[in-house]
Structure formats: structure tokens, C-alpha cells
Amino acid sequence: MPVYMEPKQILRPVSSLWITFTFLLAFTLNFIPWDNRVVTFQPDFIAMLLIYWCIHQPGRIGVGIAFLVGIIMDIADANVFGQHALAYVVVAFVAWQWRRRILMHTLLQQSAHALVLLLLAQLTMVITRMLGGGPFIGLGYFVSSITGALLWSTLSHMLQAPQRQSVKAKYEATNAS
């Protein structure tokens, strides 16, 4: 098994404010009214964020938050109650189970894991809808998971930016004095 053995930067602890802010940002991104053609490519930012935080902050973000966020998504999308909630709960749980394994990999390998998790979320939603009597929606629906996986490394870098920056700032500040 390839293990990511390069020295890692020590990150500052994450503030709860930052986590809340990222969720607000992800909601806003999810609400952007895309064209019908673009919307198939738009990844579910909330799902990506949940996976990220479940891996990196398993003590804070977990199944409970996933449920809450899912309910909000259901309402915003005018969906049946519980569809997103169920998908996010499943994904958050699996991400929590896999968190140690995923963190051992490089970002590229992590995005493969993210792809599986995002597909799992979409599959859960499709299955719940089909149990409710809906039709199979077609394979094009799953394209957004691939975009999500492609964006994974960018997302990781962006989410870690404040933690890195504060370390650097503190280091420079102590050196200067």
C-alpha cells in the first residue's frame, strides 16, 4: 500500500467559525442558479465539504451535522424531506470510517476516495427516489461526482489555507522579534 511518508506541515487548529463559514459558502455555491446544461456538472459542494471535515475533524463534524445540513438542503431544493439527509448521513458515516486510511494517501489518491463517496451520496438519493416511485434518471446524473472528485485537491488546499497561513504568520512574527 502506498503510504504518504513525506514530512507534513503542522497545521493550526481549525476554528469553528471557519467551519461554519465554509458551510455557508457551500450552501451559497449550491444555490447558484446554473443553466440546465451546466447543472449536471455542478458538484454537490455540501457533500464534498462534509467528506472533508469528517475526515479532518471527525470529533466535530459527523453524522449529526450531516443530518442537519441534509435537511436544510432538502428544504432549499424543494425536495422530499430526508433525501439529502439520508445520503449525507451515509456518506458522513463512511467517511468517518475511512478517515485514517484516506489521510494516509496523497491528494490525488484522496480524490479517488472522494469520488467513491460522492457517488455513494448520489446513489443513495437515486435509490430513495426510485423507491418512492421515480424513474431511473440516467447515467448523466453521476457526472457531477467526477467534477467533484477533480475539484478535491483544490478544495483541500483552500480549506487548509487559513491554518497554513496562521502558522507562517506566527513563524515570521516570532523570527522578526
Binding site: 442558479p33 424531506f81 430526508g82 448521513v89
Partner: protein
């Protein structure tokens, strides 16, 4: 698995997972069978409104900018075109008014149902619904502006859909292409009644329950019939594309395309006509006829 944490922190995630997935399943069942959670929905929607405004801000801004920097020559051209259109429409309108008077008088003679005309509401599409399983749009008019449940949305070409959820500031229109949406129609040429059902694809509707030998040709216009009392009469709904006669089925398969710009329009009108319905007949209706199915105009 049990040895993962040194310290116990509340309930274990596996138990939490079980609890919350069960809870979501219960919610799914409750919400799809009984509409009891609408209050929660309303409250949370109001809370989410600022975020949605921020999210739609770039779109609103680009629309505003593109409106602002529109070339004058284009504007002049469009203005000229619209002027000509107004002239043409006005001449028709004059004739229409006299016809309407005549029609109203005739209807009074027959003591038939009156249509209460209220001015239509003008609205703008905010965004398309995100749920890929349904076909819905969100518009910028709500109950504060006078939108009511079950009202019909049209554009300049034809019927778009029906208001299915009303919130104070916005409302949700289910398009005719939605899988659960049914429109009572009649064929303009032959006055044959029927129902048109959405397929979930953006450009295909299906006319159901028509016998194999029905007189419908490709190119026929289907207009709304007032059967069911929800749709006003005579609005163009769809154009027939293709008719299949599969030997194995009792009914012909009639595919149509929506006439209204269901996916591309930005502006729409909400019609607020209400038809005074006669009271229900006292004797129970024994036979479920075709046109009666059209009564289920509201999708659920």
C-alpha cells in the same frame, strides 16, 4: 473498531448513524405520505432567503449589466418590432373585446359558469429547481404579491406550468414537463378531449389514454380545456410530434412538444382567473371517464 477512541465521547458514531438514518427514513415516509412538515419548510426557507439572494446576485448583476449595455441599435430594432407587434395585437384585441362581450352575454343566457377575471401577474424566473428528478422553476412572486396555489403560468407562446408551492416572496411553478404533471387538453382541430402528461424530459410530453384509431396528426395543436376547472380554456399547450401504434398496447402513444418556452424563458405571466364551479352532482359517478382524469391538474 471499539478501540478507536481513548475517551468515550457520547454515543458511538455507529449508533448515531443508525439513529439518524432511521430518522431520515421516517421523515421520507412521513413527508411523502402526509403533508405535515410544511411549517418547518416555511420557517427554514425564510432563513435561507439571504443565502439564496447572495447566490443569485451574480446572475441578477449580469442580467442588469447586459440590460444596461445593450446596444442602442438593437434596442431601436426591438422597439420597432414590438411597436408593430402591438399594432397587430391591438387590432385583434379590439375584435376580441367585442367577442368577449358577446360571449359573456351568451353565457349569461345559458346561466353557465362565470370566469372571474383578475389582471395577470407578471413574474421573472429566479432559478430552475435543483432537483433533477422534477421539473420546477422558482419565480420572484409570492403570496405577498397575490400568487395563489394552482394558478397557471404562461409565457407569450403557451402554457408553462402551474404554481405548486407558494411562499411569501417566491413561489414554485411545476412545469408541464414534470413527470407528475397532467394538463387537461383538447385537440384544436377536432375538439377531441384528452390529457397531456409530462415525461420528465425537457422537450417531450405524452398524450395518454387515446384509442389507437384516434384522429390526431403530427402538427396538431393541443390547447387546454377547462375540464377540471383549473386551466382556463384555449391556451396552447403542446404540438403533436409523433404517433405510435404499438400493437401490444390498447392506447396510441402520442408524443408532443411543449409550445411555451419551458426551459428558456425568463419572464412569465401568472393567470389568476377563477372559474366559479357548479356544485358537485349529488349522485355518485359510477364510471370513471377519461376526462375526469384531467381533474388531477395539481400535481402532488
Amino acid at each position: 473498531m471499539e478501540q478507536q477512541d481513548f475517551f468515550l465521547k457520547g454515543i458511538s458514531p455507529s449508533v448515531k448513524f443508525a439513529i439518524f438514518s432511521l430518522l431520515s427514513l421516517v421523515l421520507l415516509l412521513v413527508d411523502s405520505h402526509y403533508r405535515v412538515l410544511n411549517i418547518v419548510r416555511d420557517v427554514v426557507t425564510v432563513g435561507l432567503r439571504p443565502l439564496q439572494t447572495i447566490a443569485t446576485a451574480p446572475v441578477t448583476a449580469t442580467r442588469w449589466v447586459s440590460d444596461f449595455v445593450e446596444l442602442q441599435s438593437n434596442l431601436l430594432k426591438e422597439n420597432g418590432r414590438l411597436q408593430r407587434q402591438v399594432l397587430a395585437d391591438n387590432s385583434q384585441l379590439l375584435r376580441m373585446q367585442s367577442l368577449q362581450h358577446e360571449n359573456a352575454e351568451l353565457k349569461q343566457l345559458f346561466a353557465s359558469s362565470q370566469i372571474m377575471a383578475r389582471p395577470p401577474l407578471y413574474g421573472e424566473v429566479l432559478y430552475g429547481g435543483k432537483d433533477p428528478f422534477t421539473r420546477k422553476i422558482i419565480i420572484n412572486r409570492g403570496s405577498n404579491h397575490g400568487v395563489g396555489l394552482g394558478q397557471i403560468a404562461v409565457d407569450s407562446q403557451g402554457v408553462l406550468g402551474q404554481v405548486t408551492r407558494v411562499l411569501p416572496l417566491v413561489s414554485e411553478v411545476t412545469l408541464v414537463t414534470d413527470r407528475n404533471h397532467t394538463v387537461p387538453v383538447r385537440v384544436q382541430r377536432t375538439r377531441q378531449r384528452g390529457v397531456v402528461v409530462g415525461t420528465g424530459q425537457s422537450d417531450v410530453l405524452e398524450m395518454r389514454f387515446m384509442p389507437v384509431n384516434v384522429d390526431i396528426k403530427p402538427g396538431d395543436i393541443l390547447e387546454s380545456s377547462s375540464v377540471g376547472g383549473i386551466y382556463p380554456e384555449g391556451l396552447p399547450v403542446a404540438r403533436v410530434l409523433k404517433i405510435d401504434h404499438p400493437g401490444s398496447l390498447m392506447f396510441a402513444r402520442i408524443y408532443c412538444a411543449p409550445i411555451g418556452n419551458v426551459d428558456k424563458n425568463r419572464y412569465l405571466l401568472i393567470l389568476r382567473e377563477e372559474q366559479a364551479m357548479p356544485s358537485r352532482p349529488e349522485e355518485p359517478v359510477v364510471k370513471e371517464s377519461k376526462s375526469r382524469r384531467g381533474k388531477r391538474g395539481v400535481n402532488d
